[in-house]
Each structure stands twice: as C-alpha cells, then as structure tokens.
C-alpha cells in the first residue's frame, strides 16, 4: 500500500485515500495537504481551514479509524503521507444510520458554539482525547505522571489542557467544556 511513488523527479503521485470507509483514487500534486485533498478534491468541507499552520486545530481529523484513531492537524500532513491509514472526518463521526456521535449531540445540547467554524475540529479532537485519557495517557495538567497513578480523571483542568490545540475565537469554551463533561458522565 505504501506510496506508489515513482521517481524523485515527479511532483505528483497517484494515490489512494481511505476516508470514512470509502477509498478514493486520486492524482495529487505532492504539495497538497490532507486538508486540501479532503476539501478541494473530495468535497468533504466539514473539515475547516483556519490558520493552515497547525496553530488553531480547526482542521483536526482522526487517523487510524473511528475507535482508537489519533487526532492530527490535517493542514500539516501531506496527502501522500496519509495513504496507509483510515481517515475519519467530522462527516464520518456519526453512525452510518445517521445517529449523531455523543459529542455532536452534546455540542448541540449545550450550544457549544457560536459561529461553528472551529466545531468540527473541536469534536474530532475531543473524540480522540477521550480515547487518549481512557488509554491512560497523562497530560501537563495531571497531578502525577507515575504509571501507578491509576486511571485519568478528566476534571475541568485536564480537559482544558488536553483540548488546548483547538482554539475558538468566539470564546465558546465554557459550553465546549460542559458538552465534553456531559459525554464523560454518560459514558459507561
């Protein structure tokens, strides 16, 4: 599956991107970021371009599938680097039958947005963040980094720290935090 990249002198490649369960065959200029491939070539405009420099998180998508996928900034990832993995965008986060992901429902419930531009990135980021915490990953806000510290408790300080890669210029942070905490409380 690894890059069908031909020779060093070509500036574009034929490649396959697997997005939300569908494989797409594309020829892309190597300069194309995953973000631009999603938006401009696949019509998946849910993923947003904010700063385009990895500073705002609006472009956050998951690599490696809906469960256990890792959040990344798709603006800093070249599309040719994303060939060997399952890419999940905000369009693929809901169930196939259309039922919203719990985070999507909680963001609606808590009015966790104003303009909504950062929202897809916030939700994708939060989905992966909950998985990271469940896997026991510590954060800079964790009281102890000791592996014996036990399961991560996602209090407000932990959530703020772990979500700091997603900016909201409307300042909807209070309700974003409430939406994420709501999902945590409903989790089994």
């Amino acid at each position: 599956m690894m890059a069908s990249v031909t020779t060093a002198d070509h500036t574009s490649s034929e490649l396959t991107l697997r997005v939300n369960g569908t494989a797409h065959r594309l020829r892309l200029d190597h300069r194309t970021t995953l973000l631009d491939a999603l938006r401009e070539h696949l019509g998946l405009t849910g993923t947003k371009k904010g700063c385009d420099h990895g500073q705002c998180g609006a472009c956050t998508v998951l690599l490696g599938g809906r469960a256990g996928g890792r959040r990344v900034n798709s603006c800093l990832l070249l599309a040719v680097m994303a060939q060997d993995t399952e890419i999940i965008t905000i369009e693929g986060l809901a169930s196939p039958d259309g039922e919203l992901h719990p985070l999507q429902a909680a963001f609606v419930e808590h009015d966790a947005l104003q303009c909504g531009y950062c929202t897809p990135g916030q939700i994708c980021s939060a989905a992966a963040m909950l998985g990271e915490a469940a896997a026991g990953w510590p954060s800079a806000a964790s009281a102890s980094l000791s592996p014996q510290a036990g399961p991560v408790t996602l209090d407000a300080a932990e959530i703020r720290e772990r979500m700091s890669g997603n900016l909201c210029r409307c300042g909807a942070y209070v309700n974003i935090l409430a939406a994420i905490r709501d999902v945590l409380q409903e989790a089994p």
Partner: protein, 334 residues
C-alpha cells in the same frame, strides 16, 4: 510552495543515499515543522524523503541500562510510556509541555530535536535574517526580541531553540545515534548543536545525509527525582518564555549531584554547567540554589526587552530545586 518530489525509500541506507546525493533533498518525518516552513517559504526542498516508516518506532532497553528511544517514536507515545514516566519524569513532563495533543501525535523524537527556531524574523521571508539568508542582517537585536536569547547568542543571531524535549534530554546526558554517508556514530546531545557565532545558518553538527535514528537515555537513577518547568505567555500550547529541566540528588541536606538545563534562553538547549559546579557538595538550600543560578547567568547578555528572563530563570531554578530537595524555598521567589 515549490513543487517537490516525494520518495519512500526501502531502508535507511537508501534514504541516506537519496538525501546525500541531492542538495535540495530533505528528510521528512512528522512534518509538523518542515511542512509549515515550506508553506512559509522558509524551506524549499525539491525532494522529500519520507523516513516515517523507516525509523525505529519503539522504546527498548539500551545496553547502558537505560532506554533507547527510536527516532520515529511519536512525542505522544514517548510521554505516555510507563518506563519514561517512572524513570525520567523530567522528559515526560517536557514532552507534555510542548505543542498540542494533535501535534504530539504527529511529531517524532528525531524531528523534535531538529526543529527550527520560531524567531519572527527567521519565519518571515520579507525580513532579513542571517540564519535564513546569511549576511542579510539581524533585525531582532533592535526589533522584537522579547522572547529571544540571553545566553549564547551572537551579534549575528539571537534566536532560541524551541524544543522542550531537548532541554530535558540535555539535562539527562542523552546520547544521539546518527547514521550517515560515513557510517553510524553517536554524539552527546550537547554535541548535536552549534552556537551561532558568525554562522547562524549552521544549527547542528550534522552533515548532509546524516539521519538521527535513536536517542539513548542513561540508566535511571537520580533522574527519577527530576522535573521540567515551563513558563509561557498563556497556560497551554505556547512556546516557552523560559524553561528549566532539573534533576537533583540530595543526601543529608547536601547536594550530591545536580543536573540543570535551561530552555528558551539560548540558541541551543542550554546545559547549566556553571550552576551545577556551584551546587556540588553544597547545602541544598534556596540560598545556594540562587547562587548557582547567578553563576550561570553571569555570562548572560540580555537585550533591551528580555532582561526580565534573568529574574525569571533565577526564580524558576530556585523554586524547582527547592521542590526537588523537598523543601520550600526560604523567602519564596515569585
């Protein structure tokens, strides 16, 4: 952005050959800094050699009794590793203090060591910069230098090294494994970096085609009593204004050994050896911790707007060493 070729070589030797043989070629790992610099026009390789699938991506026991961290290990995996968290808290804390969850998932250990400065003039191709365009000048000395170097800079460059992780590795005496056109070799972390002097365009001692493959940590010992403290302009997701990595071994109220490195104050991760020399064998008190910081900062050459870092670094050093020694500083620094 300039068009470029993209190559996924079969093995590290082929990757090294590809970069060695082509002046415009660059290794690509996580890409979080390089792709950004290409967008900014600061970097313009004509070939990217993707080594993400080639570099060791595991953390394993090292012959030294410590750990060998593959250069392809993602920052998030490094910080989450139970052996790192238990034996080298300074390193886990430093990595977690850097960037965001998204970026730590992409960024690799090798790439983190080789990231470029975030000096505003270096990153702006419409401005002169001796690092980007040798001989063009350095506007930072009279311009925006609030967050630039107070130690180790030169008349030609006062950019700071941006890594948190490398500051912890400097304090830990980490060893960098390199493969290159001349074969494999190792360097102490401090030997990887160069002070700018008259050649700020040369940031490391690596030659064309040299590839960092792993970083060794020494056997865990008193590194278990270590910490990283980062001061920044906002609570999270910002580069340091100053940072300190410290490890301390105290017995009977006396410092047996101390390791100290400073971040965001110099063009390289700054090992504070003058401070360490002051501390050895001395009482583990706030007074001596302050003297140690003063000894290190005696060589500082702050600019108009960054002399505040002198006080900041001194206070953070005193507080951290006091906490590591198990005692609050007398007359606590703010």
């Amino acid at each position: 952005m300039r068009p470029f070729g993209y190559l996924v070589p079969p093995d590290p030797a082929a990757a090294i050959a590809a970069v060695t043989g082509r002046p415009g070629a660059a290794f690509l790992a996580g890409g979080t800094n390089l792709v950004d610099l290409m967008k900014l026009g600061v970097a313009s390789p004509d070939l990217l050699v993707d080594v993400t699938g080639l570099l060791p991506g595991r953390i394993e026991p090292a012959p030294s009794g410590g750990l060998r961290i593959g250069a392809g290990v993602r920052n998030s995996d490094l910080a989450a590793d139970p052996r790192v968290r238990a034996g080298y808290p300074v390193l886990a804390q430093a990595v977690l203090a850097g960037a965001s969850g998204q970026l730590r998932n992409m960024a690799t250990v090798g790439g983190n060591l080789l990231q470029r400065p975030r000096c505003p003039y270096f990153q702006d191709v419409t401005k002169p910069c001796n690092k980007r365009d040798p001989g063009s000048g350095c506007p930072a000395r009279v311009g925006d230098h609030r967050n630039l170097a107070i130690l180790g800079g030169s008349a030609h460059c006062v950019a700071t090294h941006p890594s948190d992780m490398a500051v912890a590795l400097a304090a830990l005496d980490a060893v960098v494994h390199i493969e290159g056109p001349g074969g494999p070799r190792t360097l102490p972390l401090g030997g990887l970096y160069r002070l700018p002097g008259g050649r700020p365009d040369r940031e490391t001692t690596l030659e064309r085609g040299d590839l960092i493959t792993a970083v060794d940590l020494p056997a865990p010992g008193f590194a278990a009593r270590s910490a990283y403290r980062k001061v920044r302009d906002r609570a999270s997701y910002a580069f340091a204004v100053a940072s300190v990595a410290a490890a301390l071994d105290v017995s009977g109220g006396v410092v047996r050994d101390a390791r100290l490195a400073l971040g965001a104050v110099a063009p390289v991760p700054w090992r504070a050896r003058a401070a360490e020399r002051v501390l050895a064998g001395r009482p583990a008190t706030a007074e001596w911790f302050g003297r140690a910081a003063d000894a290190e900062l005696a060589a500082a050459a702050p600019l108009r707007d960054n002399a505040f870092k002198l006080t900041l670094v001194r206070n953070v050093v005193v507080r951290m060493l006091s906490e590591l020694a198990g005692s609050e500083p007398a007359g606590a620094a703010q």
